[in-house]
Symmetry: C2
Subunit: 485 residues, 2 copies
């Protein structure tokens, strides 16, 4: 167990009660004395619990009266606009995003106070101590994993554990089908190399994460950006139309669950239609499911791969965002490209090191993994709500925001087509790093958007940072209006 | 320090005396009692020392007289034939080796008694306990390396340590120039992707290790196999001729130090000529230096990269063979392709995990690394000698063998153009895995060769296995002669 986890677990319990309405706005929180007795905890833990919820904005302290529940006022936010049937599709084009990404990343290499650009939670949202203890135990039991040549085929324990967990996503796969990779990014590389060549056209969501665009650029492939809904993901109609227009699409890449950057979740029916469409058109479907486990529900979402009966879907995932951002443990199920992708993986990086795989395998096999995910989802939920609340309060009128049902970030549309690069530069002056929308499309369709992380604990300082960011956007918007006038 | 390392260190001391002739064949080894007094060690350590040297064949026990030095009789072996100016060069061709390699590997997946096919030493030749202790200490000090997102640019400590070590090879590089990769194999992939495309011609040594051929196959590149001397490496003349014949060679890949499988070492003058030739012809030179540290000399060999003044040499290496076969820590210096290769690495697998890098960095910075290398080289030297001796004694007339000046394997030419696949199959029946020569050339020029590992402790059982292998070869050779008659 983590240090301090007791009060955090209690906090989640009370947060549930608040969200369910059991404790309403204005209700009095049980007194510290009562909390101590009810939960058999120390004074310090009971106080930590209350202060924690207070820090998150769910309680307010009234002098000499104790703690009272407050419902953070949920200001109505206008959701990000849906693409419509008239949304134009840019022609397929070679990708040239890397220099833009590198320049942004290089600029962010100065000391910063708030990194709102990352796509993982803060380290303390993950089970650091448990994983560390596991790693030490495994090193003691099997020190030769450091110095013994890795066996052909790679680590069996992890393949077993992943195949078992895949059942939760509706995927039935033999452990031997699992190919462990260096992060999901290697899985995407291998999938694309297996089904396409330099010069080929790949259909991707628009916006999409720049990591995928960089992969396409590095492989010399063309991106065909398909309009994608902030609510329901890639537009099946637009994709269908694109397939009629282009006869050389060699693959479709989608993130059906908590799409990056939109946070959209494809309804099951859409996933099913997408799988059928790709099969019908003989176009491989590459599914990136790195975030599925972060959806705000107890039951795991069903992967598109579930509806795949011909091996046309290549499923790629990773433990990077959901369990351990410091580890590079990705994996894939390669469908009918199993032999070719196994060959490519072997020729590219051989098998992964053993230690990380064993640590992850043991953790996945324990109930600690499920507990961790429940806690992580609940914590992120609160942080997302607080972030949305701050954006609603501090960002200027005309800001649009769809709060996704899970995950570590929100996608913000700024008013007046404001340049995300201008906001990035100005925010950096205040020690705040944001992820500018210009990175999420090769044709620069999303320059007036920002992706903001909500994987950090919501502190007063973070609230202040979001207020500063809101002021920056307001000032830039005003300056733009004035110069236009 | 390793358990039992004391007697091993003493064994190396006495081995030095034997090899220097201070203790000649037939001389009496100091008595166990005397060894105890001289070195202030226990009876058990003194006995272990003598039995260890006995097991390696350097001492023999005479009843009631003690231990006596024996010089393993060095039977004259005919070296493997040198390529000559008339050696034909096959046309550049697409590589189709993977299925052959996979079939061989799949066959070797049964329980075996002796794996003579691997290209690393046994795990106990590497500092398992030291590395494990380092890993545990680092995990305790920095547990968040498991759960904190990896910083852009990767681990600085390892880059510093590698840049410092590179000085020993005559390479002066800034730490920032070091790109850490998932093994040397990823470095080779990145280097080839940076300078060539599918369909391009790459000049390689012949024979060369099948890992490189698989990389070419997976990237759709053509191999042009250049005759290579078991003594001095790639033939500069043949390469020059090939460059005149083909105007589309996009890179030359060489292993200048302990070439795999030959074990050849390029003289400095050859390396210098090679660098100049490639530069003159505007053809990038990719140098794979995975084995350099295993050459039987105290002073490190000079890398070809040393003579590179224009950034035309891409230097690739790994800690896999020399420090920790269980880790996948490779690295490269990308010369004038620094920006492009950094991009490709980031797009392919992001940065490596931190733990292995920190473990390796700390070890490289300590004198333990130099001690480890000295011990490893001395042990391998003895094992190579014993293996050569056994081959000379047990293999049939007509066998040729060049014993390399370092490394973990020997390259054996069998008489009568015997099929290495037939030997592989027959040896497998006896639980012995060998690496057949058919894997080391796309045009199957080396089918009558075997690469045999000498990285395991030379035990009686291993001696028996080599005797069995010799008998297999003799019987197959006789059968072949009879069927031909």
């Amino acid at each position: 167990m983590e240090t301090q986890s007791l009060y955090k677990r209690l906090a989640l319990h009370y947060l549930g009660a608040i969200k369910a309405g059991t404790l309403g706005a204005g209700d009095r929180m049980p007194s510290v004395r009562k909390l101590m007795a009810m939960h058999e905890v120390s004074l310090s833990t009971a106080l930590q619990l209350c202060r924690h919820l207070e820090g998150q904005g769910w309680l307010e302290a009234r002098p000499r009266s104790g703690y009272f529940v407050r419902h953070p006022q949920r200001i109505k936010l206008v959701p990000v606009e849906e693409p419509h049937s008239g949304t134009p599709i840019d022609p397929a084009q070679f990708v040239g995003i890397h220099e833009r990404v590198s320049a942004i990343i290089a600029q962010g290499q100065r000391p910063i106070k708030f990194n709102l650009a990352r796509a993982t939670g803060a380290a303390d949202l993950y089970p650091t101590v448990q994983l560390k203890n596991l790693a030490i135990r495994i090193l003691r039991q099997r020190p030769q994993l450091l110095t013994k040549a890795i066996v052909m085929g790679g680590n069996k324990e992890l393949k077993n554990a992943l195949a078992k967990r895949a059942l939760d996503y509706g995927i039935s796969a033999a452990p031997d089908e699992v190919i462990v990779t260096c992060g999901c990014i290697e899985a995407l590389n291998l999938a694309l190399r297996a089904v396409a060549q330099a010069g080929d056209v790949i259909a991707v969501e628009s916006p999409t994460f720049y990591g995928l665009l960089q992969v396409l650029e590095s492989l010399g492939m063309k991106a065909l950006e398909i309009p994608t809904s902030p609510q329901t993901g890639i537009s099946i109609e637009a994709l269908q139309l694109a397939m009629q227009t282009y006869d050389n699409i060699k693959a479709v890449v989608v993130v059906p669950h908590l799409q990056n950057p939109l946070g959209s979740i494809m309804p099951d029916q859409h996933k099913q239609r997408l799988v059928a469409l790709c099969e019908e058109q003989h176009i491989p479907l590459i599914e990136d499911d790195s975030y599925g486990a972060l959806i705000d529900t107890e039951s795991a979402p069903t992967a598109a791969k579930h509806w795949d009966s011909t091996g046309n879907v290549i499923y790629c995932a990773s433990l990077h965002k959901i369990l351990a951002p410091g580890l590079r443990v990705g994996w894939m199920l390669a469908g009918r490209w199993q032999a070719r992708i196994s060959m490519l993986k072997y020729a590219q990086t051989r098998y992964n090191e053993e230690l990380s795989q064993l640590v992850v395998a043991e953790f996945l096999q324990s109930s600690a993994y499920d507990r961790h995910l429940r806690r992580l989802r609940a914590t992120l939920n609160v942080q997302r709500e607080r972030t949305a609340e701050a954006i609603a309060a501090y960002f200027p009128a005309g800001t649009r925001l769809t709060v996704p049902h899970g995950g570590v970030s929100v996608w913000v549309e700024m008013p007046h087509q404001l340049s995300s690069k201008a906001v990035f530069d100005a925010a950096l002056e205040h020690g705040i790093l944001v992820s500018p929308g210009l990175l999420y499309s090769n044709s620069n369709r999303f320059n007036h958007f920002l992706r903001l992380n909500c994987g950090m604990h919501f502190t007063q300082e973070l609230d202040d940072a979001l207020r500063t960011l809101g002021n920056i956007i307001r000032q830039l918007a005003q300056a733009q209006l004035q110069s236009a006038a």
